[in-house]
């Protein structure tokens, strides 16, 4: 393993504009999402707090909606919720994915066949189909339940990626040597396999979070989101529900769209950057 130093990290970033831009966007969003609520009075986002349907002004930077909520306040409270759903679902997905992928790739045999076929089958089924069935059957949906519903299908791509990498790692000479030296399976996985999987785990995590957020706002657009909580997708849903698009209240629906697009662009650039990183490393190894 290469030692990670501050200088090493800055060198990684300099040669990789996608990663730099992506991470900058993500950091900006994270600051807005997790520090913003500290400076926001939640009462400003309650129904009837202000005169409804105001266009943006100095008092209300993003105006108010038809229910008299301050849009900026609502946006500030909604962003962390959507990120939470993405991060929880992403973390659960990657956790299951790493375990299944390692088991499948490392053990091989029947276990591998079962996990591989299972993954292939679930990848074929469009996620939205299963998610809709589950979400319609859950009585009340809140942010935590939403995250768990999405997490049910978030393991598919990580499992496939980790399995493929484990398979190729298993055949490497140093793993074979360690095995011949009598290193146990668990120790081998922890010391030799896992560290080399790390870049792939990071890349799949970014991709999975992005997928999870996309799935959430998709379900929310269909009206299957947390009805009583703020998320970016629910903001768009309610804006549409009250005809904000046709009535020209752009300040209501445009801000959540801008934040969502920034999240996706940031994650996409980060994942493209990570890909580049992983692949150059591969090329150097080969």
């Amino acid at each position: 393993m290469t030692k990670v130093t501050v200088r090493g990290q800055s060198r990684i970033l300099r040669g990789n504009p996608f990663l730099t831009i992506g991470l900058l966007i993500i950091v900006a969003i994270l600051i807005f999402a997790y520090l913003g609520p500290l400076f926001t009075d939640p009462e400003r986002a309650e129904v009837g707090a202000f005169k409804p349907k105001q266009s943006p002004s100095r008092e209300h930077l993003l105006g108010t909606d038809t229910q008299g909520r301050d849009v900026l306040a609502a946006l500030t409270l909604a962003t962390p919720q959507t990120l939470n759903i993405g991060l929880i679902a992403g973390a659960v997905g990657i956790g299951i994915g790493v375990v299944l992928g390692l088991l499948s790739g490392y053990l091989g045999g029947t276990v591998d066949t079962a996990i591989r076929v299972g993954t292939d089958v679930f990848i074929t089924i469009p996620a939205i189909a299963i998610l809709v069935v589950v979400a319609t059957n859950v009585r009340t949906i809140n942010v935590a339940i939403m995250a768990l519903i999405i997490a049910m299908l978030a393991w598919r791509l990580p499992t496939r990626t980790i399995r493929a990498q484990t398979l190729s790692l298993r055949e490497r000479a140093y793993i074979q040597v360690a095995k011949l030296n009598g290193v146990g399976d668990l120790e081998l996985i922890a010391k030799e396999v896992m560290p080399n999987l790390f870049p792939y785990i990071a890349a799949s995590f970014v991709a999975t979070v992005s997928w999870a957020i996309l799935a959430t706002i998709g379900l929310e657009a269909l009206g299957l989101g947390p009805q009583n909580e703020y998320t970016l997708g629910m903001m768009i849903y309610w804006a549409r529900f009250y005809g904000a698009i046709l009535r020209g209240f752009w300040w209501w629906w445009a801000p959540p769209i801008v934040v969502i697009v920034l999240i996706f662009v940031g994650l996409f650039f980060t994942s493209a950057g990570l890909d580049q990183l992983v692949n150059t490393r591969l090329r150097r190894v080969a």
């Binding site: 074929t124 089924i125 939205i128 706002i217 269909l222 046709l246 020209g248 996409f268």
Partner: protein, 334 residues
């Protein structure tokens, strides 16, 4: 060898359908309470149905589903109905059948998906191929980050932005619907023009968001294709650039792109469903949205099953014809 491949691939298809149907059967039964009563109760609570219909319907359903029978028997009955293409009745639009509702919505969706995906695929792959070509002007390479941004935006969000600018502000296209409200669909020029006019905005959102994806994928394929020895040979033979680009580069890069299309099919279809919701387009996606709004459970379930079946079938067909059109593929197990 092709036969083993066929059998294995077909087994996969059966497995997908089996799993989808089983999930659809189990999930409502995992929830507490009688599934029919619960669905009907929520329906009444939300004001989506009339009380007198509901009692009669609940009774009819209970007999039909045999909810007093053991679970394994219910499960077999469920399969029996599905195999006879019986998806049940709509709760919100009783006595309309689910099959009929989906049938009337399906042509809209297929038309929208088919045409816009083809256009996006054609423009996108051509753009991607050109972007990988060494002798294009440097300035054009600036398009790459733009394409990355376009491919990262979900279809339906793009749809909302397009509605605002092109339908509300500029009033070029209608904001919603599949045809003029109240007009009768006939097969004449005026109707076709009207339908195309309404389909333009949803199609544009799918195309714009799709172009980025295909262009980036194609660029990747093309870069690796251009590194092949036969390209060097073609150049050494003195073939002109256009011929090398189209017949040696594009042709070989396009085939793997079909696999990418297959892999993204689920994503595309999800995107189209949500675009239909945004534009109130009378396809399957909008039907699903309406069914969710009115808690019309059997319609939701029917659409979900049709969706899974259609995608699984498309992937099966794609996988079966792929080895035929691309002889580089072998059927061996990896």
């Amino acid at each position: 060898m092709y036969l083993t491949y066929l059998i294995r691939r077909f087994g996969m298809f059966i497995l997908v359908i089996f799993l989808a149907v089983t999930i659809n059967f189990i999930i409502p039964r995992l929830m507490p309470g009688d599934p029919v009563e619960q669905q009907l109760a929520t329906l009444v609570a939300t004001g989506g149905g009339h009380m007198e219909d509901v009692t009669a319907m609940a009774e009819a359903y209970r007999v039909k589903f045999g909810l007093d029978q053991p679970v394994w028997k219910q499960y077999l009955n469920y399969w029996w109905d599905l195999l006879h293409l019986n998806l049940g009745y709509s709760l919100a639009n009783y006595p309309d059948t689910v099959g009929h509702m989906i049938g009337s919505a399906l042509p809209w969706t297929l038309g929208l998906v088919g045409i816009s995906t083809l256009i996006a695929f054609a423009i996108g792959s051509l753009m991607g191929g050109l972007l990988a070509w060494p002798s294009i002007p440097r300035a054009l390479r600036g398009a790459i980050p733009l394409l990355m941004i376009a491919s990262a935006i979900p279809y339906f969000l793009l749809g909302i932005i397009l509605v605002f600018f092109l339908a509300i502000l500029l009033k070029i296209f209608p904001a919603a619907g599949g045809h003029q409200f109240g007009s009768v669909l006939r097969f004449d020029l005026a109707t076709i023009k009207d339908v195309l006019h309404h389909a333009a905005l949803p199609a544009i959102s799918i195309i714009v968001a799709g172009i980025g994806v295909w262009a980036l994928e194609m660029r990747g394929m093309m870069i690796s294709t251009l590194g092949e020895d036969y390209i060097t040979l073609a150049e050494a033979k003195g073939l002109n650039g256009k011929r090398i680009f189209l017949w040696y580069g594009m042709r070989n890069g396009l085939l793997p792109l079909l696999t990418a299309l297959a892999l993204r099919l689920g994503y595309v279809v999800t995107g189209v469903i949500l675009v239909e919701v945004i534009f109130s387009y009378p396809g399957v996606g909008f039907k699903l949205f309406q069914a969710v709004q009115t808690k019309d459970y059997f319609v939701i379930q029917g659409i979900v099953l049709i969706l899974i079946f259609a995608i699984a079938l498309a992937l099966l067909v794609m996988d079966l014809i792929y080895p035929v059109i691309d002889p580089r593929i072998t059927y061996q197990r990896r």
